[in-house]
Amino acid sequence: MAFKATLSRREFVKGTSGLLVAFSLTDSGVLPRLLAATPTETVDSPSPDRLDSWLQINPDGSVRVFTGKVEIGMGVETALAQIVAEELDVRPVQITFVMGDTSRTVDQGGVGGSTSIMLGAQPLRNAAATARQLLTELASRRLGVSPDQLEVRDGVVAVKGQSTRSISYGELAGAIDTNDVLKATGQGFALNVKGTGQPKDVSSYSVVGKSLPRVDMSPKILGQWQYVTDVRVPGMLHGRVVRPADTGAQLVSVEESSAREIPGYVKTVVKGNFVGVVAETEWAAMRAARALKVVWTQPEPVFPEQQHLYEQMRSVTPKSSKETLSKGEAATALSAAAKKVAAAYDWPFQSHATMGPGCAVADVRLDEVTTVWSGAQKPHALRKGFAELLGVPEAKVRVIWVEDAGSYGRPGFEDTAADAVLLSQAAGRPVRVQWSRADMTAWGAKGPAVVYDMAAGLDVRGEVTAFQFTSRAFSGGDIMYLPASAGNYLGAQLTGVRNTTGVDEFAQWGEGTMAYRFPNIHADAHVLPAFFATASPLRTTHLRDPEGPATTFAGESFLDEVAAAAEVDPIEFRLRYLDDERLRAALTTAAKTYGWVSRPSPQKLGSRADTATGRGVAIALRGGTRVATIAEVEVNRRTGALRVKRLVCVHDCGLIINPEALGGTIEANLIQSLSRSLKEEVAFDRSRVTSIDWNTYPVARSSDVPDRVEIVLLNHPEIAPTGAGEPSTRPTAAAINNAIFDATGARVRQAPLTPARVLAALRSSGPA
C-alpha cells in the first residue's frame, strides 16, 4: 500500500512507446515531490480514444491508471483499483493512480453527484478489458497457442496447465498500439469509452466485492501522506487574503506601512476589492494580513435579520418557479378530505466547513504554462476557469489535483486556488495560499436555505387522498458546481468579474425522488433571488447532496405527521404507498435490524419522567440508491436536550465493490448528517456571516456520537453500482426528528434540532 503512495507521487515520466511506459523514480528529498516535470509548451488533456490515456504498463508489470476522477476521502481510488484489477487480472497492489492532473488525465468531469463509481468507473473498466484482450491476443501469437488456451494471473499470461510457458504484460506492453483503440461517447461525468474487449461477467468477479484495505489509509495514519497543503515549489511565497468587512463593501484605502515592518513581507496585492498579501513565510503572511490597515465603505445591509429569514423567504417574489409533479386533482381532493394536515418546515444555510480550510499553490507564467495545485473536486473545470481568469488559452494552464481535506461538494477549495492564481500573477512568483478558518466557514459558498409548505388530505378510512408540496430555496446552482468560469470564484468576483454561469436549482419533490404512490399530488418549487449578487458570503452552491437532506427532512417529517394523523405505525404507513421493491426491502430490513415494534407515533406516555425515548424512521431514494434509516433518541422534556442513542441504516446501491470501505463511508456520512441535523446553522447579521470558527459554527463532537451505529448493506450483484457518497446523508434529520416526536409528541419543524427548538415544540404541544 505504501508502495503505491510512494510510487504514484514521485514518478517522473520520461516518455512512452506503445502501452509501455518508461519511467524513473526520483526521490529528490523532501522538496518538492509533487513537482513533476512541468511541460513548457501546451498541456492538453489526453484524448479519451487512446488506450494509453487510461492505462499504461510498466516494464515490471505494474500498471498506471490515469483518471480524471479524484479521491475525496471516501476510498474511491481503492474501489477503482479493484475494478481495473478485476478486468486486467492483475493484483490491486500492482496498480498506481494518476488522478486529476489535467495534462495527464482525461476530462471526466471530476467528482460529483455520487457518480464516480456509477459512471466514472465505466471507461476504466472498458479500457482495462480492451487492454487485457489486446495483451492476450499478442501473447497467443508469441506463445503460438490460441487465446482460449491462455489464462492471466497477476499480469502474467500463461498457457493453461503449463505455467512455465508464459509471458508477462510488462514484456508485451511495448508492442501494443494504443491509437484509436477506443471509441468515446458523452462528456464530463457521462464520458464513456468502448473497445473490442468485453468486461467480465459479474459472476466471475474475484477482486470486486472484497473488503480490501484502502490504499491511502495506512500511509495517512503513518504520517507519510501528502496533501495539497504539503506541496512546496522552489521560490514559493505564502499568501493570505483580506476580505471586505461587510458584504458589498468597496475598498477605500490600504495602508501598507505597518505590514512593511514585518520581516519577510513582500507585497500587498490590490485588484478592485480583492486584497491580499504575499510574504516569504507563512507566519509573515499571516502577520502582514493582520497588520494591514484596510478601510472599506459601509454599505447598506443586504441581509435580513436572521430571525426573520424564513418569513422573508416565504414572502419574497421568486426568481423562477416550476411545477415539478402533478398527478390527479390535488387541490380538489384536499378540499374534499375528511382530515387535513398542513405544516411548514425550514432548513438553514449550512457551511461545508471542511477540516482543512482549503489550500492551493499557483505558479502563474503568462508567457509559458501556468500550473495550479489544488484539491478541488473538478480539476479540468478549474483549468477552464483559470484560463479565463488569466486571459490565456486553456492550453497554457495545467491543474494538478492533490488531495485536500474531505470536500463534500464545492466548498471553496476552488476559490482558494483562484486566490493563489491572482496573487501569483501579481507577485510574479509561485504562491501558496492557505485559507483561514474564517475564510472557509464564513466565506466559503453555502448549502442553500430552503423552506417548505406541505398539506395532505386523508379520507375517513385514513387513506391519503391528496398531497401538496411547495419549496422555496436559494439556488444550489448560484455558484455553479462546475467551477469552469472566472466569475465562479470569490476572489475574481471581488476583482469585478461577474458570476454569469449560475443556474436555478430547485428543491424538488419530483419524479426522481418521489417514492410514494398517492392518488393526487401537486408539487411545485421556487428559486429565490440571492440577497446579494457579488462576493456574498451567503452565495449558495452544492453541499453534500445539494437540496436532498433539506427536502428529505421536510418531506419525511411531514409524512410522519400524516401517519400520526391516520394513527398508523410510520413504517406500515410508508409501506402502504411504496411500490419500489428495493426500497420496501430496505425499510423492512431496517425495521427488523432495529427490532421495531409496530404502533403509531407518538408513544403513549406512561410516565412523567424527565427523559423520554422514542424511535423514528425516514427513507430516501437518490440516483438509484435506496436508504432507510432508523434513529433512537432520548429527549429531556425539561430542557429539550436530546441525545441520539442509536442509528440503523440500510443501504442498497446495487453491486458493492468494497463492503468495508463502503460501510466506513456510510458510517461517517451518518455522523456528518447527524451533525447537520443537530447543530449546523450558519449565523449572520445584516451585513456579515458571523459563523467564523468551530465555536460559532458548532459541529458534532465525540459526545454527540450515538452509542450504536449499525449499517446493513444490501448487495445486488446483478444491478450496476449506483452512488454512495451522498444518499445516506438524506434521511438522518427526519429519522431523528420523527424519533423526537415519537418520544414526546412534540413536532419540531426547523433544522437544526437544537434543545431550544425541541423545548419550544414541547411547550407548544401542550402538557406532556
Binding site: 476521502g73 501522506w225 468551530w694 456520537v705
Partner: protein, 157 residues
Amino acid sequence: MSPLALKVNGRAHMVDVDPQCPLLYVLRDNLALNNPRFGCGLGQCGACTVLLDGRAVRSCRLPVSLAAGKEILTLEGLGSEGNPHPVQRAFIDEQAFQCGYCLNGWVLTAKVLLEKNPHPTDAEIRSAFAGLVCRCGSHVGIFNAVRRAAQSGKAGA
C-alpha cells in the same frame, strides 16, 4: 528572528525564526514536516496536534520559543511502515478515517490517553476526545480503533 534549538522526533535542529511564531509553522515550513496540519489556528480542532514531552499540545497556538528544549514528537516520528506504533496499527486495522486530514489529533490523543489509562471506558474515550473535530464524521471508526488498541494491550508501551 532568533536562532532556536528544537528537538523533533529525536533529531536536533537549529531554526532561525520569530520566537512568537507558532510551532506549527516552524515544523511545517522550516522543517518540512507535514503532519501537524492547519485546521483552524485557534486551538479548536486538534489537527495541529504534536506531543511535547509526551503531552498532546496544539502547535497552532504554541509560540515556538516555548517548545525549545523539549522533546517534540510529530506523527511522522511515532512509528514507521515496518514498525507502526500499536495505536497506529489499530487505526489502520480499523480503517478508521475518511479523508484523514484530522488524524494527528485523534491518533496522538489516543496514544496519550492509553498511556495514562490503558483500558478506558466509552465515556473516558469520548471525554479525552472532547476538543477534537473530525468533519467527515469518522468517530465510530476512531472509537473502535481505540478499543482495539486497548485490547491489544500494547498501546500503553
